[in-house]
């Protein structure tokens, strides 16, 4: 018989919580929520590219973000922590879940689960890889053909003029959409919020948010490739 004594200190409690699968899901949900909010903010920032004086607007926006190095790094570290926690926790859960069914079925037919929910383990790693590429591409410029410090407009347009890069962005953003469709709804469920009255509403909210974020971001490389954006940069 298993015993489950009540943990004594706050730290122990948190650790016990993290050791349980539900605690881990909470961590995934909370960090996911932070990252979700970040993707919204990031997309809104990106969409400034459609403003008439986009180059200047984006440059100002970049300056604003860099106004305080401390703050910038605080946010970066916070985001990084969330990201790492999100990924590590999921990796742990993934191993746990594989161990829970070592022998797979000869035949298994999904009944209710959505495509998005079943492909989290695919969209997740792709996004991880994407984030690394994205940072080296548009933040540090290491993988960018003609990176100019503090000129996001230039970097975006010239970067996206490379079809392979754009294609990867489009695929990654589709994956993000898929990931968020399940992830955002799942976040509420994991944190214990599910009520018959709001169940459909939450699902729709998740799907809509995912669609807006991914389409909003995808529109940029597409418009660059089509020549709609970046006419002023030769």
């Amino acid at each position: 018989m298993a015993t489950a004594a009540a943990p004594n200190s706050k730290l122990q409690q948190s650790l016990a919580l993290y050791q349980s699968t539900i605690g881990k899901k909470y961590v995934v949900a909370v960090t996911g929520a932070v990252l979700f909010l970040f993707t919204i903010g990031h997309m809104l920032g990106n969409l400034q590219i459609y403003l008439p004086n986009a180059q200047e607007a984006l440059a100002n926006y970049a300056k604003l973000l860099h106004a305080s190095a401390e703050l910038l790094w605080a946010v970066r570290i916070a985001l990084l922590t969330c990201f790492v926690l999100h990924v590590v926790t999921i990796a742990q859960l993934y191993n746990l879940n594989r161990a829970a069914r070592p022998q797979s079925y000869v035949m298994k037919t999904p009944t209710m689960s959505t495509y998005a929910s079943r492909t989290m383990y695919l969209s997740g790693p792709i996004l991880l890889f994407f984030v690394l590429y994205h940072l080296s591409h548009l933040t540090t410029g290491a993988t960018h053909p003609s990176f100019v410090e503090m000129d996001p407009y230039h970097n975006l347009v010239t970067g996206f003029r490379q079809p392979m890069a754009s294609l990867f962005y489009i695929i990654a953003m589709s994956m993000l959409g898929l990931h968020l469709t399940h992830g955002v709804w799942s976040m509420f469920q994991s944190m214990g919020f599910n009520h018959p009255r709001y169940r459909n509403g939450l699902r729709n909210f998740a799907t809509a948010a995912a669609a807006i974020i991914s389409l909003g971001n995808i529109s940029i490389p597409v418009c660059v490739l089509l020549g709609i954006l970046g006419k002023d940069l030769v």
Partner: protein, 257 residues
């Protein structure tokens, strides 16, 4: 009608198993799925072969004994139906059917389609009860319970412990089963004194029994023969986290322990 069955045969927990093909020429559409297997077994016995072992008892969809995967779906995947209540009219002449046991580390195979689900009993032992020794109860009407609470508790209490939720879950998670019991008892006033303790202990044992984690796929809800809602899992998550932070250490003279 004529059917081809592919049935998982495994003689014991530690022996390797395999799919074996059987042709069944005379299946009547009014038979239940288990009656169809009865017919198969009678023909196997006549040929001096070992019949297929599968668990069953009530054959009314209430005891929770029966259950295996049919064509990759727990209980065959028909709404609110256990295999014992599934009738052959859902299949047609010439169909090829795949039959496999529940698969999960926590449910080791006993023989053929029969698995060991005692992990469920151990989850209940951890806290799936209200501690009220015989004779210590107050009058049944002493605690009024709003009808809607009683109904919600009943919705959750309908679980038959069949294990289809675990079997159909990609992660072999027992969240639906565990949460149904936590919700049933925690939604009732009688269950309040042990509410947090129950959530904490049952979830802990659920994890110790090597079930996977819930990734909110909803496969469980879709194949649960009693239509248990994943809303219960949300309730469990809430109570568990509350318990993890709010639970006070047990008192030396016994307390909640």
């Amino acid at each position: 009608m004529k059917l081809t069955l592919n049935v998982w045969r495994q003689s014991g927990p530690n022996t390797p198993g395999k799919m074996v093909k059987y042709d069944l020429p005379n299946v009547n559409e009014d038979m239940s799925f288990l009656e169809m297997l009865d017919v198969l077994n009678e023909t196997l016995i006549a040929k001096s072969e070992e019949p297929v072992t599968f668990e069953h008892d009530c054959r009314e969809g209430i005891c929770g004994s029966c259950g295996f995967m049919i064509n990759g779906k727990a209980h065959g995947g028909f709404p609110k139906t256990t295999v014992c209540q599934l009738h052959m009219r859902h299949y047609k002449d010439g169909d090829e059917i795949f039959i496999e046991p529940w698969r999960a580390t926590a449910f080791p195979i006993v023989k053929d389609l029969m698995v060991n689900r005692s992990a469920f009993d151990r989850i209940i032992q951890a806290g799936g009860f209200i501690s009220v020794p015989t004779g210590s109860a107050v009058d049944g009407n002493a605690i009024p319970i709003p009808k809607s609470n009683a109904d919600r508790a009943m919705d959750a209490a309908q679980c038959i412990g069949c294990g289809a939720c675990v079997a159909s879950c990609t992660n072999a998670s027992a969240s639906l089963f565990t949460s149904a019991k936590i919700a049933h008892l925690n939604l009732l006033p009688q269950g309040q004194p042990e509410k947090l303790d129950r959530a904490l202990k049952m979830v802990t044992v659920m994890n110790e029994e090597k079930f996977g984690s819930c990734t909110n796929l909803q496969e469980c809800e879709a194949t649960c023969p009693k239509g248990i809602s994943i809303e219960n899992i949300a309730i469990m998550n809430r109570h568990f986290v509350e318990a993890s932070f709010m639970q006070r250490p047990a008192m030396s003279e016994g307390g909640a322990g």
